[in-house]
């Protein structure tokens, strides 16, 4: 395990994934805003939530990249296409199990069964996060594949 390489490329992959998602928002492809969603778990203040969310997102990126790195080690070493494949699986997990269970985990997210309340006002993502725009699954898959490709392509084991 090369800790320095993991730190650098885990961070770079997260930054690139975030950039792709923000670009997707800017071009009207998706309303999925992962830092905002993470931040609102801890703060109802819109601005503070966004700032906090970016920090949490980077930490999350590092944690997830550890799983990628572990997979590379048991799968005969990193390559860009292995990273892309793991990214695909990661995206599929996020879009299905992750998104469906999010309203239960997020204290400010409305549920599809009870609707918004005074505390829970944030729209839930729904299956495949389709509530955030019909192209959201595509954007998420592309971003995660890119994340995996960066890790697979640049991470170097000792």
């Amino acid at each position: 395990m090369n800790w320095a390489s993991w730190l650098v490329w885990g961070f770079a992959g997260t930054v690139f994934l975030t950039t792709l998602m923000v670009t997707g928002q800017g071009f009207g492809i998706t309303r999925m805003n992962i830092p905002y969603m993470l931040g609102t778990m801890f703060s109802a203040n819109r601005d503070r939530a966004k700032a906090l969310g970016v920090l949490l997102h980077v930490i999350n990126g590092w944690i997830f990249s550890l799983v990628y790195v572990a997979a590379f080690h048991v799968w005969g070493g990193p390559t860009w296409w292995k990273g892309a494949l793991i990214g695909c699986v990661h995206a599929a997990f996020v879009l299905t199990a992750g998104m469906v269970s999010l309203p239960g985990l997020h204290p400010r997210m409305a549920g599809t069964t009870q609707g918004p309340t005074v505390v829970r006002q944030l729209e839930p993502p729904g299956f495949l996060a389709l509530n955030y725009g019909r192209n959201t699954p595509i954007a998420i898959v592309i971003a995660h594949v890119a994340f995996g490709m960066i890790l697979g392509g640049f991470y170097r084991p000792l």
Binding site: Y36, M109, T112, Q121, E123, N135
Partner: protein, 601 residues
């Protein structure tokens, strides 16, 4: 519906027009110059959101005192209900989860029982943009436009029929129903709760507007009209940048059936001087500062040359184009979006921008180094270009002329630069050169814009036409209002351009073309009288006569039809409201001066 049947609501980033019949017929999201979500104002098929009684009703309406929260009261045979319309606003401190934009409509039944009908037809960009509509039992009705989401929620069941939503429901005295229409594009939508929470949002918005209105330091006559005008201007200011748009609509005609229908959802530098005066004199220093900062930031991009029009972020407005297949208000076509006047040469803007900046500098007592440099560059530009013909204040799309008003404002530009230098607020100005150029402009105006036979200043150098804009000579200090030349000019203008009690045409050419009276000119005339061109009573009478044409809730357009008194042109018009405030301030000042010494002290 006619233009005067509309009321404006907004949230400092976008605005909507609601008719007396309870129909929201104009709404552009996410900002003023975005394509409309509801465009029935300009086309019966442009989309609208109506909440109205099934039975015939008499209608009265008002803004809740000192706010931009609208109350429309419908009285039917069987009962009475109030429709409260607003776009929710929140204080800076309150940064909780809020949607990007929200129109909140609350119906409160006050008496008896009433049956109401809701029709909701969003048609983004007059149907050019296609939405995907869906209904969710808990999350409400949803219209997706790419990744943008419109959501409609209520306590009453609403049926989705294609892209259109409908509801019919009964209410008894004491009952209330909320309708929340939100827009989100930044992230997952925020779905604000209804019921008590909606009432709390209304109260919070009322409080926000009242706090803002209470900051006005004006206790002179016609306070109600002045505060209403200030509130209307605030609705047309874009909070993120401080820009103020000319009007929140496009293509409302200056003459019914005419082709002169323009998009006013942009910011004209020309309005700067009067706007700065109005905001500063009312005590809205922060708003004036934000406006002037926007003005200077914007102009830095093209310095020292100025474009005529900018969007709310200081960029060029979208290219002008005509929208085919949009019917137009009362058949007045074409409907245009964008404005091609931005590339005209209009030299008067330099005077406006420099005068606005100098007013703020006098108020705060300083000018930063960058702004000083900018003013010097503007001054140099004026010195080198004031002799050019231009399109001037009225922006005709014909050949440029040597316009008196443009010359006047070039004189103002150099005069204010010299004044700032004299007060020590502006350094490194070659005062002798500037003073020489200023004197040359004055000589040019006196020699070529004065008609010695009719004893009046004229529209363009050497022309015979009259133009009400020369009345501003006294406001800008070019001539005392009491001077023989200004008094005589005023008399000629009233004689030739007067259009009935309190109304004045802007120029002879407009009169010949059958245009209506240009409302702002009435307030310029009031200024002239209040500054010494006439008696205080005469000025007051003219002011009151001009105010009488505003609609039942005090909103004003650009033009008034002198025969029918119908309001025409884009609505409401910030410049007209700014003119009203400025005229009221001058009246109040004149009233103070005419008080006996003991009363003044």
């Amino acid at each position: 519906m006619t233009i005067e049947d509309y009321a404006l609501i907004g949230d400092g980033r976008s605005a909507a027009l609601v008719s007396r019949a309870g129909s929201l017929d104009w709404l552009c999201w996410p900002r003023f110059d975005s394509p409309p979500v509801f465009g029935a104002l300009l086309d019966p098929n442009g989309g609208n959101w109506s909440i109205a009684p099934v039975a015939p009703a008499t209608v009265t309406r008002r803004y809740v005192d000192d706010t931009n929260v609208l109350e429309t009261r419908f009285t039917c045979e069987t009962g009475t209900f109030v429709l409260i319309d607003l776009m929710t606003v929140a204080d800076e401190k309150d940064k909780g989860l809020i949607p990007d934009h929200e129109v909140l409509r609350r119906v409160v039944c006050e008496r008896g029982e009433v049956e109401l009908e809701l029709s909701f037809v969003p048609r983004p960009d007059f149907g050019r943009l296609h939405t995907h509509a869906s209904a969710d039992a808990r999350l409400g009705l949803r219209w997706e436009l790419g990744a943008r989401l419109f959501t409609l929620r209520s306590q009453v069941p609403i049926t989705l029929d294609g892209e259109r939503a409908r509801a019919r429901f009964r209410m008894r005295a004491g009952e209330a129903v909320d309708f929340s229409f939100t827009f989100d594009e930044e992230g997952p939508a925020v779905l604000p709760p209804l019921g008590d929470h909606a009432r709390a949002r209304i109260e919070r918005s009322i409080e926000w507007w009242r706090t803002w209105a209470a900051r006005a330091k004006y206790d002179g006559p016609h306070r109600h009209e002045v505060i209403r005008s200030a509130l209307a201007i605030k609705l047309m200011s874009f909070a993120p940048s401080g820009a103020i748009i000319a009007a929140p609509t496009t293509s409302l005609p200056e003459r019914l059936g005419d082709t002169r229908n323009w998009d006013y959802r942009f910011c004209w530098l020309r309005d700067a001087s009067f706007t700065a005066r109005a905001l500063l004199s009312l005590g809205y220093i922060e708003d004036a500062d934000a406006f002037c900062s926007w003005l200077l930031h914007t102009t830095r991009l093209t310095r020292p040359e100025l474009d005529v029009i900018y969007d709310v972020y200081g960029n060029k407005p979208i290219a002008e184009r005509e929208l085919a297949n949009v019917a137009g208000y009362a058949g007045s076509r074409p409907v245009r979006v964008g404005n091609a006047a931005f590339h005209q040469l209009q030299l008067d803007m330099y005077g406006e921008v420099i005068d606005a900046t100098s007013q703020l500098a006098y108020a705060v007592g300083t000018l930063d180094r960058d702004t000083q440099q900018l003013l010097r560059e503007f001054g140099k530009y004026v010195c080198g270009h004031w002799q050019l013909p231009d399109q001037g204040i009225w922006e005709p799309r014909g050949r440029p002329e040597h316009r008196t008003h443009s010359r006047l404002l070039c004189w103002v530009a150099l005069d204010r630069i010299l004044d700032l230098q004299r007060r020590g607020l502006l350094t490194r100005v070659s005062a002798d050169d500037v003073a020489r150029q200023r004197a040359a402009i004055r000589a040019d105006i006196e020699a070529h814009a004065w008609d010695p036979f009719r004893k009046t200043y004229v529209a363009s150098l050497g022309s015979a036409d009259l133009d009400a804009s020369v009345l501003l000579m006294s406001w800008y200090g070019f001539h005392p209002a009491s001077s023989m030349r200004m008094r005589s000019t005023y008399d000629r203008i009233i004689e030739k351009l007067g259009a009935g009690p309190g109304l004045i045409h802007r120029k002879e050419e407009s009169l010949r073309a059958g245009e209506g009276a240009f409302w702002l000119c009435s307030f310029w005339a009031v200024e002239h009288l209040a500054l010494g061109g006439g008696g205080l009573d005469e000025a007051r009478a003219l002011f009151e006569a001009a105010c009488r044409y505003s609609n039942d809730i005090g909103l004003m357009s650009e033009v008034v039809d002198p025969t029918t008194h119908a309001l025409l042109g884009n609505f409401p018009q910030a410049y007209t409201h700014v003119g009203l405030i400025s005229a009221a301030l001058s009246l109040a000042e004149r009233a103070r001066q005419t008080l006996p010494q003991e009363a003044r002290s």
